[in-house]
């Protein structure tokens, strides 16, 4: 039986496209300090520190050293995560393991990325094998464009629905002072953006951002002692599926890591109506079709209904089931930080500390996800109460 784990401190830097006067370490220091302040603790209280960063994107491989130097982790145990889109959720989950196992009571987890220092798309292309398909992927955008075309084909979703998603995200990000792209776009603005890879135009792709997010995780006894509003990491699922064609459902049964993650999490927690039993979803949504398509894949809504929820406005910040009220990855994407930011933002919603982008619906339970292009999904269930 795993021990209970709570999020007791949350900190994030502001996010942007460029910050010429800041290096990786300074981002880490900023986020870590904010999370510790939020928890009312110091680095000396931390028993272990977990780091998450995709070192290949910036071409350096010393992120563990950066962690030591700038977070205060020196002399403490820890791991670094390097798992693509799931870096951040995996970093949070690593923290969970170390407390759930009974090893530690207080763990600091940090995810960061600084995309202004390298090229993301060529780096992402290297997730595929150079012998066979690396030339034909063209980064995350190529892969996500093909799944978008297939989604439109099978569900009836149109380009306009993706534009509605991005317009909604821009409204949400505008209310989030830490988001990167805070400009408000209309559906028409999005439709008229320059095409990058059909069907994804520039605004339907996530930006490349820089930023860091940190959280302090605590055991049940510690959390109750030190924190007025602990957010419980009730459960999480990590799933890998094979890289390849099953996601198209042609020639074989359709099968994705999101489908597997949703099925396992909801079954284990006896959730039969995810849109009722959870009240908000901070989704790792790196392209505009992600929200409708992946709500279906995570089994949160019925097949082919995702885009209808978009059309009805259900997924807006003030809607009946808000998705990514922070503006999501669509407006802020610093990859090693993107997924931990989903967990942090979902936790803020549970605490009621979302500020201007707090959803109108009362939040008792929240979902947060991470996704890696190598067909790896993380899905977390956060809760206001322990049970």
């Amino acid at each position: 039986m795993a021990n209970r784990v709570a999020i007791v401190g949350i900190g994030q830097t502001t996010h942007s496209g460029r910050r010429p006067y800041v290096n990786d370490g300074e981002l880490i220091y900023d986020a870590a300090t904010k999370a510790l302040e939020d928890a009312g603790l110091t680095i000396n209280d931390m028993e272990a520190v977990m780091a998450g960063n995709m070192d290949f994107f910036e071409g350096h491989h010393l992120n563990d050293a950066m962690l030591n130097l700038y977070s205060g982790a020196a002399g403490r145990p820890g791991f670094k995560m390097n798992t693509g889109g799931t870096v951040g959720t995996m970093t949070a989950i690593q923290g969970w393991y170390h407390i759930a196992s009974g090893l530690y009571d207080l763990v600091l987890v940090i995810g960061w990325e600084k995309h202004d220092e390298g090229l993301v798309t060529p780096a992402i292309s290297t997730i595929t094998d150079p012998a066979v398909d690396r030339h034909f992927l063209v980064g995350a955008i190529g892969g996500l464009a093909t799944v978008s075309v297939a989604y439109m084909q099978r569900s009836g979703c149109k380009l306009e629905h993706a534009a509605m998603v991005r317009a909604n995200s821009s409204q949400a990000a505008h209310r989030n002072p830490n988001a990167h792209m805070r400009e408000i776009y209309s559906v028409e603005d999005v439709m008229n953006a320059r095409m990058v890879m059909y069907p994804l135009n520039l605004l339907m792709c996530c930006p490349t951002s820089l930023g860091a997010t940190a959280m302090v995780l605590a055991s049940e006894s510690k959390a109750k002692k030190i924190c007025k509003k602990p957010v419980w990491m009730k459960d999480h699922v990590t799933v890998h599926v094979e890289y390849g064609g099953a996601q198209f459902g042609i020639g074989e049964k359709r099968w994705t890591s999101h489908m597997e993650a949703g099925a396992r999490l909801f079954k284990r927690n006896h959730i039969t109506k995810p849109m009722v039993e959870t009240q908000v979803f901070e989704m790792y949504d790196p392209f505009a079709f992600a929200i409708p398509m992946w709500l279906e894949d995570f089994l949160v809504c019925e097949p082919n209904e995702g885009w209808k929820h978009v059309e009805k406005g259900d997924l807006k910040l003030e809607g009946s089931y808000p998705v990514s009220p922070s503006g999501g990855v669509l407006c802020t994407n610093s990859i090693g930080d993107s997924a931990i930011l989903r967990v942090a933002e979902a936790a803020l919603q549970v605490r009621g500390d979302g500020g201007e982008h707090q959803v109108t619906r009362e939040v008792k339970q929240a979902l947060a996800s991470g996704f890696g292009g190598s067909y790896w999904s993380d899905l977390l269930l956060l809760s206001k109460t322990m049970d």
Partner: protein, 162 residues
């Protein structure tokens, strides 16, 4: 001048060039040998679930079964069906060559006749309005003297009408 000095302090510009030698392995090695010497595209089969892989797999991900029985290989294609696609209208740096992608660049998710698992490769058609899901295509294979035993021995897939 002042401005420039400051820029140099806060940025260090470097371009790295790192040589790699990637192994294709037993199964892809044989696949590329057949493609180079005979111009034939092969699929292999999982003895447990019966899925027919093109490109072939050494191990079935789902059953954890070795799929190396060469007698079970079957020629597939060269015709197939486009299941999905993307069309790059913006160029990106290619990590394998260091060159910029030549645009427009269309890639199809293709199910070759006889296979049950998809592959991806370049489409000849670059007019987006002419690319349709479920359209039929055929592999254009380089003449024997130009083949090198790699994925580019297939030039691209051309649209066909049947």
């Amino acid at each position: 001048m002042k401005q420039r000095t400051q820029e140099e302090l806060i940025y260090i510009n470097k371009t790295a060039k790192i040589p790699y030698k990637w192994r294709t392995g037993e199964v892809w090695g044989e696949f590329f040998r057949e493609l180079k010497e005979n111009g034939i595209i092969y699929a292999n089969e999982c003895p447990t679930c019966g899925r027919k892989f093109c490109l072939p797999k050494s191990v079935c991900t789902r059953d954890h079964t070795r799929c190396t029985d060469r007698s079970k290989w079957i020629p597939v294609g060269p015709k197939g069906t486009v299941v999905s696609y993307f069309m790059a209208e913006q160029s990106f740096l290619l990590p394998t060559t260091g060159e910029m992608l030549k645009i427009p660049f269309a890639v199809g998710i293709i199910l070759l006749d006889g296979a049950t698992v998809i592959m991806q490769h370049q489409l000849e058609e670059t007019d987006e309005s002419k690319i349709k899901i479920f359209m039929r295509v055929e592999a254009v294979i380089k003449p024997k003297e130009e083949r090198k035993g790699n994925i580019f021995d297939i030039v691209h897939f051309k649209t066909i009408t049947e």
